[in-house]
């Protein structure tokens, strides 16, 4: 009865405190709650250690040693004891962490537990004290239950009662089994299920192995469960909860009397971990943590392999459960803490700290062992005094204990085994060093798979985005209908490994159907790199590449069906015949029998390969191999034919035939993209050329224009290469910047000459007085009339200096910077730049998948037009000012 009086009194006191502080000093409410949690912790601590264990400790299978009238009552009390421990830790942690999960547990789990505690208070106290008389333990337990109840009731009332979101319910339900399993007192399994066999757990018997498996499973489940959570504080809270409940379970048979006997202190290496881990998590003591990481983990692992308890223990005996709880936690918690990045990964300095810590611990334990041995001969912390370790290693190891140092100070005899103890220390330090290497390897593996997972996530997101965009499960359609029949390269950057410079920087180009496009540049300028990016051999660092409407990064397989590629060095299957190889390639592209026969016959005849076509490729000359590479690129009649230095090693007749093939391919409405150093051939073959220097496009021109100017391509090329300036800052990689800023770039649009002339005529007809105005007007027309946008282009010599920048968000604003360089041949395409901005917006917002994206795009364009108009007005002045400055 007295306990209930104390309980009621405590409830009243707590409620009074609550009402006292409810509104008056609202900001100090948190302080009160924290104080209350601390009082709860103190009460729990006093009552937990005031009793020596629990009566439930000896209960087996709910019947043997049952202190209650019935098995059911025993079960209920046992469950309450168990749940109360979890409840106390939840409430004690609640005011120190901001997370809802604790509140949700408090208003549900803790509230119900405390209500049941009140109902079964007598039995609960009896289970600890063994008496219904008034005891210190009973008094404090009553206060503890009162605080639990009041606290949870307060949370219940102030947090919308039982109301929780679906996500919160799922979160609480997922975590609940873990909360309960980890807070289980070591005697509970035996209480409910008996000893579960009496097979000795020593040696690698099945039951012993099950404990080891459970440790590994726990580690993996916790790691993979928590690694998705980005909030480190949340993880810290979870791990702190585990370490606290584990500590309480570990101390289940401790009482104050035991703490008064130094010889029974928990100074074994793994025992110390039970205290060190929660302290590290609570107070963020990093140096102490690295000690446990390098020393305790190793010790716990070795202890799990060779346990030192009585070898007749059953699987569920409290001692065995406690041993495994202790060592599993000492092994897995530091690993979890470091792998989940609660603490920074250790460097050499941290390793040194841990070794210094170990030295201090070792020396202290040596002295304590020698000192306490005088009072209790069973003292053997860290096995430094006994022959437990050497006994496992054999006779040779036992001899290390033959050397003994003994001396007496003040009547106390101190005994040391210098050789054994020194070797012990040395071996442990070496093993610690081994742990260093092991951790380094583990971190490497973790980083590798984390990066892999991130990349995979990105790929999946892209796939989902595409499917969402087309509202289908798999996307087979082209992404961008506007780039059908075109090769469109937008703001492509490419960086190899950790190079300081981009090999290709900010390259944008567009090639249309029917064109033969020449790509020139000196060695190492980035030609092959760009081609490799286009054909998917190398991924781009940023930017996009679309072929016939398909994006190479997002729809690689579909995009690859659109082109055929002839590399700068043939790479063929030398053990296949020419015919087999071509058929193999044709199979990959799904070319049907009739077309395949027709095309193979045509090209084999054209390239004079008929005689050797059924011989193995390893018997071919360089030129013959190159011909095979050319046929393999054309067998599926691709929309885009890409050739990287294709004519090397070919005989004159074959060169002529290849050139004819290229012309024919372009005439059939396809694109030929062609890189070569043979300028004469380029000049005769191509409609348009582009020159790349140090990874940047420096010139783009129609061959007809060169003819009109009376300049040969060779002269033009040499002049451009020698005189063109590249923006070095563009090529320089800024560290920690994954992708460079997009957009403010030259956009070289390659269009058929006729259309260009028509447009020029159109512009001239407008009788514009100012060329810049014409340019601007044209651009506005581009934006306003999407259908006509592809037909628009600026005059090469126009003084158009507007650079358009489109922001990253969906409702991006176009920024226009007018007038920078009067003499530049910059061609600007507002629509394409706007699309660039939208593309970037799409990427950065891919998670959102806004359904009203189409509307946004339209809005975006309208917004761009408005901004553009406004900026052109202002920018024109700037342009004129700069023009006059330049004249001066």
């Amino acid at each position: 009865m007295i306990y209930y009086l104390i309980l009621v009194l405590a409830v009243l006191i707590v409620m009074s405190i609550y009402f006292l502080f409810k509104n008056k000093i609202n900001d100090k409410k948190q302080v009160v709650l924290k104080a209350l949690s601390l009082v709860l912790a103190v009460c729990f601590f006093i009552r937990y250690f005031a009793s020596s264990g629990s009566l439930l400790d000896g209960v087996v299978n709910l019947s043997y040693n049952n202190p209650f009238e019935s098995d059911a009552l025993c079960a209920v009390v046992a469950i309450l004891v168990w749940f109360t421990i979890a409840s106390v830790v939840i409430v004690a942690m609640l005011p120190f962490f901001k997370y809802d999960i604790l509140k949700n547990y408090a208003k549900t789990f803790v509230l119900f537990t405390s209500l049941l505690d009140i109902i079964f208070l007598r039995q609960l106290i009896y289970s600890y004290t063994g008496t219904y008389e008034i005891t210190l333990c009973g008094v404090f337990m009553s206060i503890e239950v009162a605080i639990l109840f009041c606290y949870s009731l307060y949370i219940f009332l102030s947090n919308h009662y039982f109301k929780m979101t679906k996500k919160q319910v799922i979160e609480a339900l997922i975590a609940l089994p873990l909360v309960l399993v980890l807070s289980i007192p070591p005697y509970m399994p035996q209480l409910f299920f008996g000893n579960f066999g009496s097979q000795a757990l020593k040696g690698l018997v099945l039951y012993h192995r099950i404990y080891i498996y459970l440790t590994i499973i726990f580690l993996l489940v916790m790691y993979f469960g928590l690694k998705r959570i980005k909030d480190k504080e949340y993880i810290r809270m979870g791990l702190l909860f585990i370490s606290l409940v584990a500590l309480i379970s570990y101390c289940y048979d401790y009482d104050f009397a035991r703490f008064l006997e130094p010889t029974r202190w928990p100074l074994h290496l793994c025992n110390t971990a039970m205290f060190i881990i929660p302290i590290c998590l609570m107070f963020k003591l990093d140096k102490l943590f690295y000690f446990t990481l390098f020393i305790n983990v190793l010790g716990a692992f070795l202890a799990m392999l060779i346990p030192n308890y009585n070898d007749t223990l059953g699987f569920f005996s409290p001692s065995a459960v406690r041993f495994w709880l202790n060592h599993s936690l000492a092994f897995s918690m530091p690993l979890l803490i470091i792998l989940l990045k609660i603490y920074q990964r250790p460097r050499l300095r941290e390793f040194k700290y841990s070794m210094i810590g170990f030295l201090i611990y070792f020396v202290a334990i040596l002295i304590i062992n020698a000192w306490f041995y005088n009072y209790n001969t069973s003292v053997d912390f860290f096995f430094l005094n006994s022959d437990f370790i050497v006994d496992k290693l054999g006779t040779w190891a036992e001899h290390t204990r033959d050397i003994v140092w003994q001396f007496t100070i003040g009547g106390l005899t101190f005994t040391f085994y210098p050789l054994y103890q020194f070797l012990f220390f040395l071996v442990y330090v070496v093993l610690g060093l081994g742990m260093w290497f092991l951790y380094t390897w583990i971190f490497g593996v973790q980083d590798f798979y984390t990066a892999l997972s991130e990349k995979n996530r990105k790929i999946k997101l892209d796939e989902i985005y595409l499917c969402k965009q087309y509202n289908v499960k798999e996307v087979y359609a082209c992404m961008n209908t506007e780039s059908v029949d075109k090769l469109v390269v937008k703001n492509v950057y490419k960086r190899y490994g950790n190079n300081k410079y981009y090999s290709v920087s900010d390259v944008s180009l567009q090639v249309r159907a029917g064109e033969i496009f020449g790509f020139l540049g000196p060695n190492g300028a980035g030609k092959s790199t760009l081609i490799k990016c286009i054909v998917g051999i190398q991924p781009t660092t940023s930017g996009s590449i679309e072929i016939n409407g398909y994006d190479i990064a997002r729809q690689p397989e579909l995009t690859k069906e659109q082109f055929g590629f002839v590399p700068d060095h043939y790479a063929l299957y030398e053990n296949l015949t020419g015919r087999e190889f071509i058929n193999y390639i044709a199979d990959l592209y799904g070319v049907d029998q009739t077309l395949r026969d027709e095309r193979i016959k045509k090209y084999v005849g054209m390239l004079n390969l008929a005689d050797a076509f059924d011989n193995k490729i390893n018997t071919y000359s360089h030129g013959m191999k190159q011909k095979i590479a050319i046929i393999s690129a054309l067998v599926h009649n691709p929309k885009l034919w890409i050739l990287d230095e294709p004519l090397t090693g070919l005989d004159p007749n074959s060169i002529y035939q290849v050139k004819e093939c290229m012309k024919e391919h372009a005439q059939n409405g396809n694109i030929v993209f062609f890189s070569s150093h043979i300028i004469d051939i380029v000049e005769k073959l191509c409609d348009r050329i582009m020159i790349i220097k140090k990874g940047q496009i420096v010139e783009s021109i129609y061959l007809d224009e060169l003819k009109e100017m009376g300049v040969s391509l060779e002269e033009f090329y040499l002049k451009t290469i020698n005189e063109a300036q590249v923006d070095a800052s563009k090529s320089l990689v800024v560290e920690n910047q994954i992708a460079p800023e997009p957009a403010p770039s030259k956009f070289f649009e390659i269009k058929p000459k006729k259309e260009k002339k028509n447009k020029r005529a159109k512009i001239k007809n407008k009788n514009a007085t100012n060329k810049a105005d014409v340019d601007a007007e044209l651009e506005l027309e581009n934006i306003a009339t999407p259908k006509a946008e592809n037909d628009l282009e600026f005059d090469d010599k126009a003084v158009s200096n507007a650079e358009l920048k489109i922001g990253n968000d969906l409702v991006g604003n176009a920024e226009l910077n007018a007038g920078n360089d009067l003499e530049s041949d910059l061609e600007l395409n507002v629509e394409n730049n706007a699309e660039n901005g939208l593309e970037n917006s799409r990427k950065s917002n891919s998670k959102n998948y806004k359904e009203n994206e189409t509307e946004n795009i339209a809005e975006d364009k309208t917004e761009s037009i408005k901004n553009y108009k406004a900026d052109v007005d202002g920018g024109q002045n700037a342009s004129t000012t700069k023009k006059s400055r330049k004249k001066k």
Binding site: F565, Y573, V591, T619
Partner: protein
């Protein structure tokens, strides 16, 4: 001289991969690991020699006779000579870098000499990682004086020149033999079959010679005498090797080892003399022929005109068929597979015949089964080491495959079909021999077979993964081969690690005595395979685009 130095360093860098020298950290790691490797092999050799000494296998007293070291040295020498001959044949006449090196403004002498020198240094490196540790272990076990540990590496380094120079001489006829055999593939296969036939006959004779009941303890006196007689015979017949070992390890007289006697000086002079003669012969014979032969390989033959029809295959099936066809036409790979297919079951048969003759207890039976698992896995996994350079050896064609409209997994897996098929064949043969000799039921036999199969497939995938994650295409494209391919080394380590792991698991499960031993082994192997195929798929999906 400057040109020679450049040429030499250029090839040396390529062959030994000295890229680690750029970073102090990497150099430190490399040195530390080299030392650790040296110590590990020395320790291993020490343990083996110590066991031989303890069991008095070679001598009645606690001692390893010099004749044992002479046999070890002779075996190493013969192996070294074979590898040098074949290696130099490849390096001198078949190396793809000849195409470039021959065009450099250096004379043929420099080119020839630089190639020989690079090869010699590679051999010395190999000596330091294998031969010298064995001799160090012997020195430590026999308590030889400190001077031995300086003398031995110096002398072995000098002596290494002999197999290299002999190999350079022999590489010339070897080149013609290889060329001849390449021209007539049938001859090559016939020759192989003859060798294999002889081998099998030898094994069968050996099996027949095994007594029905082997009792080593009872017959130890006889065995011991036979061993000593063999040692004595070897010393008499191959005195040259024994003489060198005496020169190297010192003569044991009056209970102490003496170096630098008149005898040792005379042996040293002989060695130097032989080296000088070989240098002269190489200068006179091999060098003039080198330039001529090295440029021959670039010539090609025009084949006969044929006119076959085009065949359309299914898009999924086609890569499997063509990749397998391509590998089958690689004679080297095919011959290795056929050889493994014949040798592996023969070895298992020999092993089981020996086991059958030994009267074992239950634990012995368990060991017998576990050893069978070990041997089978060692053979089949070793056959699959080639998967660790399967993509790299294609040169640049793997990268070109990236431009084909197929998923990465579908591009990479067809390469492995050949190895998977041959692994199944070898496994069927070896497991059948094993099961015929073991008291295991049909159901259990099937479980063992599939357990081994999954393990083998997992190893193929793992090895292939090593290659596509760290491809060596550039080196294969220029040189045709890589002297010390890190992926190959890792795959070889995996062979031993996986085999030993499964040996350990099998033995443990058998001794543990719990039910369903083979089912557990099957499940472990399946889990291993499932993990490897998942990782392979996952990595190809994510990383293939980046390589």
């Amino acid at each position: 001289m400057k040109k020679f130095e450049t040429l030499f360093m250029m090839q040396l860098r390529e062959r030994l991969d000295l890229s680690f020298l750029k970073s102090k950290k990497q150099t430190m790691f490399k040195v530390i690991f080299a030392i650790l490797g040296f110590v590990a092999i020395t320790a291993l050799a020490y343990v083996v020699l110590y066991l031989c000494q303890m069991l008095h296998i070679f001598s009645a007293i606690n001692h390893i006779p010099l004749s044992v070291m002479a046999i070890i040295f002779a075996v190493i020498f013969v192996l070294s000579l074979c590898t040098c001959t074949l290696g130099l044949c490849k390096s001198l006449y078949y190396a793809k870098d000849n195409q470039v090196l021959l065009t450099y403004p250096v004379n043929a002498n420099s080119l020839f000499l630089s190639k020989i020198l690079v090869y010699y240094i590679n051999e010395v490196k190999r000596n330091f990682s294998f031969v010298i540790p064995i001799f160090f272990a012997y020195g430590l076990l026999s308590g030889l004086p400190f001077v031995y540990f300086i003398w031995c590496p110096i002398m072995l380094t000098i002596f290494t020149a002999i197999p290299v120079l002999l190999g350079a001489l022999l590489s010339f006829p070897a080149y013609f033999i290889i060329k001849f055999l390449n021209k007539f593939s049938v001859l090559k296969i016939v020759l192989l079959l003859i060798i294999l036939g002889a081998l099998i006959t030898g094994v069968v004779l050996l099996i027949n010679a095994i007594p029905e009941d082997i009792n080593l303890i009872a017959s130890w006196t006889t065995v011991s005498r036979s061993v000593r007689e063999f040692l004595s015979w070897f010393t008499d017949v191959f005195y040259i090797f024994y003489a060198f070992i005496v020169f190297l390890c010192g003569s044991f007289e009056n209970l102490q080892t003496t170096f630098f006697t008149q005898y040792s000086y005379s042996v040293l002079l002989i060695i130097l003399g032989i080296t000088a003669v070989l240098v002269g012969l190489n200068y006179l014979i091999s060098r003039p022929l080198y330039l001529k032969m090295a440029s021959k390989q670039f010539e090609f033959d025009a084949g006969k005109h044929q006119n076959r029809r085009n065949i359309k295959l299914n898009k999924t099936l086609s890569p499997f068929i063509y990749e397998t066809k391509k590998t089958l036409r690689d004679h080297k790979v095919f011959i290795t597979s056929i050889a493994t297919l014949i040798i592996a079951p023969t070895a298992v048969l020999l092993l089981n015949s020996l086991y059958a003759a030994i009267n074992t207890r239950l634990l012995g039976d368990y060991f017998t089964i576990a050893f069978n698992v070990l041997v089978i896995l060692l053979f089949v996994l070793a056959h699959n080491i080639s998967a660790s350079y399967i993509y790299s050896k294609e040169g640049e064609s793997l990268f070109l495959n990236k431009t084909k409209p197929n998923k990465p997994f579908k591009i990479l897996v067809p390469y492995l079909v050949y190895y998977a098929v041959f692994s199944v064949l070898i496994l069927v043969a070896t497991t059948a021999v094993f099961l015929a000799n073991a008291s295991v039921g049909v159901g259990e036999g099937v479980l063992i077979f599939f357990a081994l199969l999954f393990t083998v497939l997992a190893h193929i995938l793992w090895s292939a993964e090593l290659d596509f994650l760290h491809p060596k295409n550039a080196i294969y494209r220029t040189q045709g081969a890589v002297a010390s391919n890190a992926n190959e080394v890792k795959s070889t380590i995996l062979v031993f690690a996986i085999s030993l792991l499964f040996f350990g698991i099998t033995l443990f499960l058998l001794i543990d005595g719990t039910a369903g031993v083979w089912l557990k082994l099957f499940l472990i192997a399946f889990a291993f395979f499932a993990l490897r195929i998942y990782l392979f798929y996952y990595k190809t999906k994510v990383l293939f685009r980046e390589i």
